[in-house]
Symmetry: C2
Subunit: 593 residues, 2 copies
């Protein structure tokens, strides 16, 4: 057996190991040095290949797929800057806790730093952002053998999945020849099992810590459960149990998975962003104890409120969830799988006190929440001009059970937070909130479309859309289905809400209008492009796209300055709803124009 | 004075230091955390700002600009994955020896790894690919003061420029507030001089090494000068001097700058790729000594030939040029600035022997070179179907003095090497051959257009074009001028020449046709799109674009399999030209169809 044949046997054992450990999808970018892995991934019947010409888009596609499926996804690219293009997705996966198995091809050690083409230093290329890095020994000799290759795959997948989930990086040096004769590529049998566990066990919290925290929760009647972005679909029901046991409202970030679904949402508050922007209301809602789960919430108003109440006891599920306390207000951290922590706390609270005391704290939150949401909804219904918040609300309202709504960073996630309330429909909201970049969002959403139970919708701004424009090539290539709501305000809309908007250089350096007409993306990428006029047309286009095939880009054009004014008007409507009634809201809305 | 005002004074001193050290261009992507640097770079009258929404494109635009201008270019981006998107350009700059000053904004240390948004680990984010990394102390206190900020800028620019030139990375943490009142931004005076030298001195070679090598060059009559990719515009004339002194031909890579220009090209051989692919010819050209300058040549035939003659004395200018010997055939390396090394060798050779001995070695090379080039040219003239080689040759032939021809990696650089001979016109050929990636090529060329003395042309394949499609947004935004020859063979054409093309999975995993119609890029990006039919139309479109304004994308559609056949036919034409005459060439060309 020659070297190339032995290489292929060993790579086959590696691919077999990936499958045995649960990998079902591989995002592959074309290249020569990566041929052994490409050919064998491509031949395994259990692996579906997703070709992407741009490795950056490939990485983000894999990220979206892995985030929504909660299964590790493999990424393969060739050597050189190809591998460097994966860094953004690797970083997002690290902070967003998404399991990725990154496979980069490389020259063998003797050709490194010697002027060989497409050869860069790939050792620890992703630095601390890869959870685990292996410079794999060159395959093709007698050692290491297939057992090593299989075990390496198992270990890589297990490491990526172990909480906090994240990306691992295996660098594969290959010597030439890279390809055997067409008949000499080994076939796969049934995947062999691995000596390594493929499914990591969740960690249980310390019983003493649970008992202590349960006592604290019971000691303070004005408590809150704050749930930030997190990806465990079973956590919302667990939190509902803790809310019932304690009587505490749940302030549910849109990315907490707790706003929508069939779980008990009786204590879920979702208009807190509007409530806490209202200074008198915020002042009247002083918490004594806060149980924090997940990443820091998206809402700046909520973060400010929590920072203002640094004196309250703030307990965090930390450790596996990271150390999510940028305002240094945490008073205690409990380590462990968040669901196990919450379930253990619920049990401990119930043991101590069968039913919560009747007090008006939770009722006050629920009443304010309902009034704020009603005020917002009534105001939205009256806005008869293009507005990003109402477009996102219309999109969310149209989504059926099982749908996924991906949202871009900057304004879309904030508009989702503000303008989309909860629902019994199981709609999954998702965003790249690990590093909160505007890059790769389109590809992430297209990757998520593969794993979504129902239709995939994306709400994205024009700058973010343009940043990942080439990612749209996957739509036609892979016959994907998605509804893309493109909120085009011709530049960086989020900067208009910042103090820098007052500077004379603002438009040149921050607003940065591009003046592009996106209607041509339809012809370029073989997708449908629509630019509906008015609310009814927008709704009709959304409905048609959700029921249709292919990818539809539905553009809503807005103005950045007007958008800021409308957000202020919305907040005035909330204030009026909290203070008085709909008459005053209408007045204020009129005045703001 | 409050903290934000002091921050701006210190950042102003830093920007002043950049200008004092020679920075004139800054590529800036919008962001909030980077506001102090953006506002002050934007206000300096000596700095031109190039806005790019995609940091990856921004990095490559800066790279192209810096490569052709040979001056350091600053890049600014905000925190998070924005900074990660610069890795590909940083890697290319490192291996391509291009001076870049990368400025990333960051959260202050207390907000790192604590769940703050858009906060990632940016320390040594580019690993070994940044020549120098500084995590800048947070500005805004009394220390460090403006003197530090100014000196930091000088040192950063000097480090980037010191051979081997490359990227440096300064990470700037800023605390809020990030923006002062509009009136409180400091004004710039005349840039103050710096205590640090801004222009690094070239290093002189060791006199003993020069004497020893001069003796070796004189001892072996069959010598060659091989010049790979390099960016010093004065080196070709110096090499011509050494060639005259030794009587050795110069095998000039298209990226050596030696093929075109008004320097003495009497001993320049440019059809060596075709010559050395011809086995009998290659066998008859045995060198005894080889003087190698620059990076490894693009031509695989030349690299193979040099590896076959490992027994010949092969002297490399290494050290500053890197260690460019992937075949381990070098017998001696001399350190120093390449031009100083070549000039010193010329002087030493002339001292030892006033004029070269008459022998037929150089004449034989020149004769073969002329015949191969004539055979190729005659064959190209007869090809009346779309062919990538003839399209690139037509583009190169149309370029006026001072023009720059950027070429993509994979096939365009190889077709340039094979099908474009030298010229007295000063046409600069350029490519990203540091890491030879297909990414960022469009943005690099657009950046180079800013620094080019004459028109900028780009020859690029469809996969590479699609990889950096969003980079085309710079065309309209900045009113750029460029002629883009898009060679669209619907997939990865270079893979068709590899053994993997015989595998049944080839099209799915390597060919990867996308089926996109690029004509829509005209409307999308506000550029002109043309798809000429036939040779005459192609030439007319090229000519019109070179004389016109704006960016024109001229698409030539080809077939990958046919392209491979035509390359074989070209080589048969060369063989015939070397062996016999035009009659036999015509025969072979006929047979191959």
């Amino acid at each position: 057996m020659d070297r190339v044949e032995r290489t292929y046997l060993q790579v086959a054992a590696f691919v077999d190991g990936l499958v045995a450990a649960g990998v079902r999808h591989a995002c592959v970018s074309p290249g020569s040095r990566s041929s052994p892995l490409a050919l064998l991934l491509g031949r395994h019947p259990a692996i579906r290949i997703w070709i992407h010409l741009d490795e950056r888009s490939s990485g983000y596609f894999a990220l979206g797929l892995a985030k929504v499926s909660r299964e590790p996804v493999a990424i393969l690219c060739t050597s050189g800057t190809a591998a460097a293009n994966l860094l953004p997705a690797v970083v997002e996966a690290r902070y967003g806790r998404v399991p990725l198995v990154v496979l980069t091809a490389d020259r063998p050690p003797e050709l490194r730093d010697a002027g060989a083409p497409q050869t860069i230093d790939q050792l620890r290329l992703y630095g601390p952002h890869a959870k685990w890095f292996v410079d794999v020994p060159v395959f093709g000799g007698r050692e290491p053998d297939e057992r090593y290759a299989h075990a390496l795959a198992s270990r890589a997948v297990t490491t990526a999945r172990t909480p906090p989930a994240g990306p691992v990086h295996l660098n594969f040096p290959f010597r030439e020849p890279l390809v055997p004769a067409p008949g000499a590529i080994p076939a796969f049998g049934t995947p062999t099992t691995s000596p390594h566990p493929a499914a990591p066990s969740p960690r249980s919290p310390d019983a003493g810590a649970i008992a202590r925290i349960a006592d604290q929760l019971l000691g303070d009647p004005r408590g809150l459960i704050v749930c930030g972005p997190q990806d465990d679909p079973d956590l919302p029901a667990a939190m509902a149990g803790l809310a019932r046991a304690t009587g505490f409202p749940i302030l549910a970030d849109p990315l907490s998975l707790a706003r929508c679904g069939s779980h008990d949402r009786g204590l879920v508050v979702d208009a807190y962003d509007a409530l806490l922007r209202d200074t008198p209301t915020r002042g009247a809602l002083e918490p004594q104890v806060v149980m924090r789960v997940g990443a820091p919430p998206t809402s700046k108003a909520l973060m400010t409120y929590l920072a203002e109440h640094a004196g309250a006891r703030q307990v965090q599920v930390a450790g596996e969830q990271g150390w999510n306390d940028p305002d240094f207000v945490g008073s205690e951290a409990v380590d462990g799988d968040p669901r196990l922590v919450v379930d253990a706390l619920t049990l401990a609270v119930r043991e101590r006190r069968p039913a919560p005391d009747g007090d008006d704290w939770a009722d006050r939150w629920r009443d304010l929440d309902r009034r704020a949401r009603a005020g917002l909804t009534a105001w939205l219904a009256r806005v008869d001009e293009p507005f990003e918040g109402s477009a996102i609300a219309a999109l969310a309202a149209a989504l059926p059970d099982g749908a996924t709504l991906y949202v871009g960073n900057s304004m879309p996630i904030r508009d989702l937070d503000a303008f989309v309330g909860g629902s019994r429909r199981k709609v999954r909201f998702a965003a790249n909130r690990g590093a909160s970049g505007i890059d790769g969002v389109l590809s992430s959403a297209l990757g998520a479309s593969v794993a979504s139970d129902g239709p995939l919708a994306l709400a994205i701004g024009d700058v973010s859309f343009l940043h990942d424009l080439g990612g749209l090539a996957a739509a036609k290539r892979h016959g994907l289905r998605a509804t893309v709501l493109l909120l085009n305000n011709d530049g960086g809309g989020i900067f208009n809400v910042l103090p820098v908007a007052e500077h004379e250089q603002f438009e040149a350096l921050f607003g940065t209008p591009h003046g592009l007409d996106f209607s041509a993306v339809g012809d370029l990428f073989g997708v449908t492009f629509r630019r509906p006029e008015g609310r009814a047309e927008l709704r009709a286009e959304i409905a048609a796209s959700l029921e249709g095939n292919g990818v539809t880009v539905i553009e809503v054009r807005t103005e950045r300055a007007r958008n800021v004014a409308l957000h202020r008007e919305a907040q005035q409507a909330v204030r009026a709803a909290l203070a008085g009634g709909p008459a005053r809201v209408a007045n204020l809305a009129g005045v703001a124009r």
